[in-house]
């Protein structure tokens, strides 16, 4: 007990220290946290305070032309228990059904973020394992993984999605992990993830292919490290940077893809709001796209198009900026 060694901070403490110094990344992370909190915590509180949820149609929030009312409106509706309620619509109503746009936006964000999380986890998991195997072992493994990647990537995604939706999606619709997710979220997340793994797989394969020629891999092999140990301890840290950057990008791409899926009846069912659903119902959809028709039946208020696009944009921006900050904080080469 003579002299106490000054304890050196752990790896993650160092990462956090470097990350914290970066003002932009920190701001982005705070924004992301605020959005997540708004969707997951504030929305249920708002429902309790306002007395209605995002799926409650309010006929009085729609005028004679089925035009929804604008922001800061009050509308009366008869609740299911027969008592008239006055509803306050901060962002106005969402369309001809007169539902609360604010609550739908926040509840939709919850669905979209959950799908993004699940799909990104599935895609990264599959991609890292297959890409690392292909790049490291080469030969038959590489040939199989590469051909599989080419096959899946050159096949029109839309067709696979239609096939999946028409045949098996119904069976997975009700898997909710004991009510943790709304119906359909888990299945859509997994579907998107399963069709998105080839990007990280290609990336990881290319990186591992050039990394395994490096001296430090040779040195590790020379002192008797096993293949698993080389991949996990020596190659994986090099992959973290590019993969985090890619992960933030795919998480946002997934939210957009989810919007396309809703249209094909594979996505989240209509009763559940999501940013994709909100976007698609205002900007038109792929299979039913006729801009000339949109304004004829009832004019869409421009603000309704702005909200989901804005939420999506801010979320993706925050995701990308914090991912970038995390990447440089994690990068062993940017330590000094």
């Amino acid at each position: 007990m003579s002299d106490v060694q000054p304890s050196s901070p752990g790896e993650w403490k160092l990462v956090w220290r470097r990350f914290r110094r970066d003002r932009v990344a920190l701001g982005a992370l705070v924004t992301l946290g605020a959005i997540v909190a708004a969707c997951f915590v504030v929305e249920p509180l708002l429902e309790a305070v306002l007395g209605h949820d995002g799926s409650q149609p309010i006929p009085a929030a729609v005028d004679v032309n089925l035009n929804p009312v604008g922001p800061f409106s009050w509308a009366t509706y008869i609740a299911p228990d027969g008592v008239p309620h006055r509803a306050f619509l901060l962002l106005g109503a969402d369309g001809p059904l007169g539902r609360d746009e604010l609550l739908r936006l926040l509840a939709g964000g919850r669905v979209s973020l959950e799908i993004a999380l699940i799909a990104t986890a599935v895609a990264l998991g599959l991609g890292i394992v297959l890409g690392a195997l292909a790049g490291y072992y080469g030969g038959v493994v590489d040939a199989i993984v590469s051909r599989l990647t080419e096959l899946l990537m050159s096949f029109p995604l839309l067709l696979l999605m239609i096939a999946f939706g028409q045949t098996v999606a119904g069976r997975f619709q009700d898997i909710t992990a004991h009510g943790l997710f709304p119906p359909g979220v888990l299945s859509v997340g997994v579907v998107i993830g399963v069709f998105c793994w080839f990007y990280p797989a290609r990336l990881v394969r290319a990186l591992v292919l050039s990394l395994k020629q490096e001296e430090f891999v040779e040195a590790a092999r020379m002192i008797g490290a096993s293949d698993v140990r080389i991949i996990r301890q020596h190659l994986a840290p090099h992959l973290a940077g590019p993969l985090i950057v890619w992960g933030t990008l795919v998480a946002s791409g997934v939210i957009i893809l989810e919007a396309s899926l809703s249209v094909l009846n594979v996505g989240v069912r209509l009763g559940t709001a999501s940013w994709g659903n909100l976007l698609a119902s205002n900007w038109g959809t792929l299979l039913v796209f006729n801009p000339a028709d949109v304004g004829v039946q009832y004019p869409k208020p421009p603000l309704l198009m702005v909200w989901p696009a804005l939420m999506l944009f801010v979320t993706v921006l925050a995701l990308a900026a914090s991912g970038d900050g995390l990447r440089s904080a994690l990068d062993p080469k940017e330590r000094q």
């Binding site: 040939a143 067709l159 957009i256 993706v316 990308a320």
Partner: protein, 530 residues
């Protein structure tokens, strides 16, 4: 080199073969009625079982998948023909040939623009990492993925058309043709400029970030310091030493993105009205009449697959030229064949896979021969006499009465039709609201003319008390926008959805109003189809 190209050509052919076979397999899994694309089906027709069977035979879909696929391959190899489209009864080959230059122009121009931007921005950012310009560019590049392709496309199209006067839609070929009204290099570029920008923005973030990350990594390598120490200029270090190394992993991605480019092209061509492959894909997938266009889809898959194969080959060659380390992969002895022949267990596994495939094919053949015939497309008619009257005034102001009368319900396996009359019994006009044009099902109580289907006991037990609405699409005669005083609309409306048995069914008449309070009206009595 020749052996390498030959091997890749062979594996490319295998890739295209498996792609197209997968297409046929997927199509035969989707429960649709392609016969409805060539003969009229649905509630307003009298097409019988025999006619549908004849149509199935004409399209060749009464045969097993393997036979269908064999015919497709034979036609393609022997006659160089891709078949006839199911939706418009025209040869698929010329349609693809007409659409290909459009998409090729879009993708090639967009990719070149994107690469130029990605290289410029990537180098600029990597040379001053974490600075304000770097951060700004990274943030701006995210627009391409943060914004829905529709929002980006429509926004840019309208912005450029309004402020710069660019042509907002349609396509101009370089060489004049009878199909297009304009031609020439300058108008070709002018019409494609904005689509190119949208395309580049959609792909830019990924490539830019990848290049930047790779460049940052490469610039820290010891050989860069060596090059600098030897007195190489900064631009030489960047271009000859760093960029050449960083671009290696990017090249195969471009080739692989040729398939993804079709998905992007679908969005862009829809927004800008370009008659390309994406436009054909939407046509093939739209499933309007209850089926998807298999010959068109198979042709699209073949075309895109061929492009992916060729581009992959080019990317591999270019990659080997840029990065000597990957040259090991292009060993002319053929790594794949060597690896298989040298490993007995791999050979055994491949044999088992082949055996399973053959067994599956045989099972498919046997099963489709013994499969039950299609249920008869019978029309079941339920005459009825449902009279209702509705007070639209909700107790305020003058009484506004609407009377409805349902006389007959026709039910088919794929549709329904209601014969009814709607009478305005007041001395004021009553407005009729057309249903929401969005493709989504409309929730009760806001609906157009429709069948309202009550939840099943099972759904009720599960706590899902939601009514399903099957919206009407076919009105005979057309539904007016207003019902004048003391007038009656008599006719029928039908929808394309199947009507479930043993469920309470109400007839929805749509949304009416004489003032600012639209009100949906449906029958008070329900019908149950046994």
């Amino acid at each position: 080199m020749f052996a390498f190209v030959a091997r890749r050509a062979f594996s490319g052919a295998v890739l295209i073969a498996s792609l197209t076979f997968l297409t046929f397999l997927v199509f035969n899994t989707i429960p649709t009625n392609p016969a409805c694309l060539v003969v009229a089906c649905g509630p307003h027709t009298t097409t019988d079982d025999a006619a549908i069977k004849a149509a199935d035979h004409r399209l060749g879909i009464d045969r097993p998948v393997v036979v269908q696929y064999g015919k497709f391959v034979w036609r393609l190899v022997r006659h160089g023909s891709l078949g006839t489209s199911w939706t418009n009864d025209r040869k698929v080959g010329p349609q693809i040939a007409a659409a290909l230059p459009v998409t090729a122009s879009l993708v090639a121009g967009g990719m070149i623009l994107m690469l130029a931007l990605a290289l410029a921005v990537g180098c600029f950012s990597a040379l001053r990492p974490r600075s304000l310009p770097d951060r700004g560019l990274l943030a701006v590049s995210v627009i391409g993925i943060a914004v829905h392709p529709f929002v980006l496309g429509i926004g840019l199209r309208d912005l450029f058309a309004r402020h710069l006067g660019t042509p907002s839609a349609s396509y101009c070929p370089i060489r004049s043709s009878r199909v297009f009204s304009c031609a020439g290099l300058s108008s070709w570029a002018a019409h494609l400029a904005v689509p190119w920008i949208v395309f580049a923005l959609l792909f830019l973030p990924l490539y830019m970030r990848l290049l930047r990350a790779r460049l940052l990594e490469t610039l820290n390598e010891p050989w860069i310091s060596t090059a600098r120490a030897k007195g190489a200029s900064e631009s030489r270090v960047l271009i000859r030493h760093a960029l050449r190394n960083a671009i290696g992993p990017v090249l195969p991605l471009i080739a692989i993105d040729a398939g993804t480019a079709l998905t992007a092209a679908i969005y862009i061509e829809t927004v800008f009205g370009l008659p390309g492959l994406g436009h054909l894909a939407v046509q093939a997938f739209s499933g309007e009449a209850g089926g998807y266009d298999l010959p068109l889809t198979a042709a699209l898959v073949t075309t895109v697959g061929a492009f992916v194969v060729v581009l992959n080959l080019l990317a591999d060659i270019a990659g080997a030229w840029v990065d000597p380390r990957t040259r090991l992969l292009t060993n002319p002895k053929g790594i794949t064949t060597m690896a298989i022949t040298a490993r007995p267990r791999v050979r055994l596994a491949l044999g088992v896979v082949a055996l399973v495939a053959v067994a599956f094919a045989a099972f498919q053949l046997g099963q489709s021969r013994t499969s039950a015939p299609r249920p008869a497309a019978e029309v079941r008619i339920f005459p009825m006499h449902l009279l209702d009257s509705f007070d639209l005034s909700k107790g305020v102001g003058p009484r506004a009465w609407l009377r409805t009368h349902v006389t007959k319900l026709e039910v088919q396996p794929h549709g329904w039709r209601v014969y009814a009359s709607i009478t305005n019994d007041t001395n004021r006009p009553i407005m009729i609201f057309q249903p929401d044009p969005s493709p989504y099902p409309v929730l009760y109580p806001h609906q157009g003319m429709s069948l309202v289907i009550a939840p099943s006991p099972k759904q009720l037990a599960a706590g899902r008390n939601q009514y399903t609405i099957s919206s009407a699409r076919l009105f005979t005669p057309a539904m007016p926008h207003a019902l004048l005083a003391h007038t009656t609309w008599t006719g029928s409306f039908g929808g394309n959805d199947a009507v479930p048995r043993n469920r309470q069914i109400y007839v929805g008449f749509g949304t009416f109003s004489w003032n600012s309070q639209p009100q949906s009206v449906s029958t008070a009595h329900s019908i149950t189809i046994p």
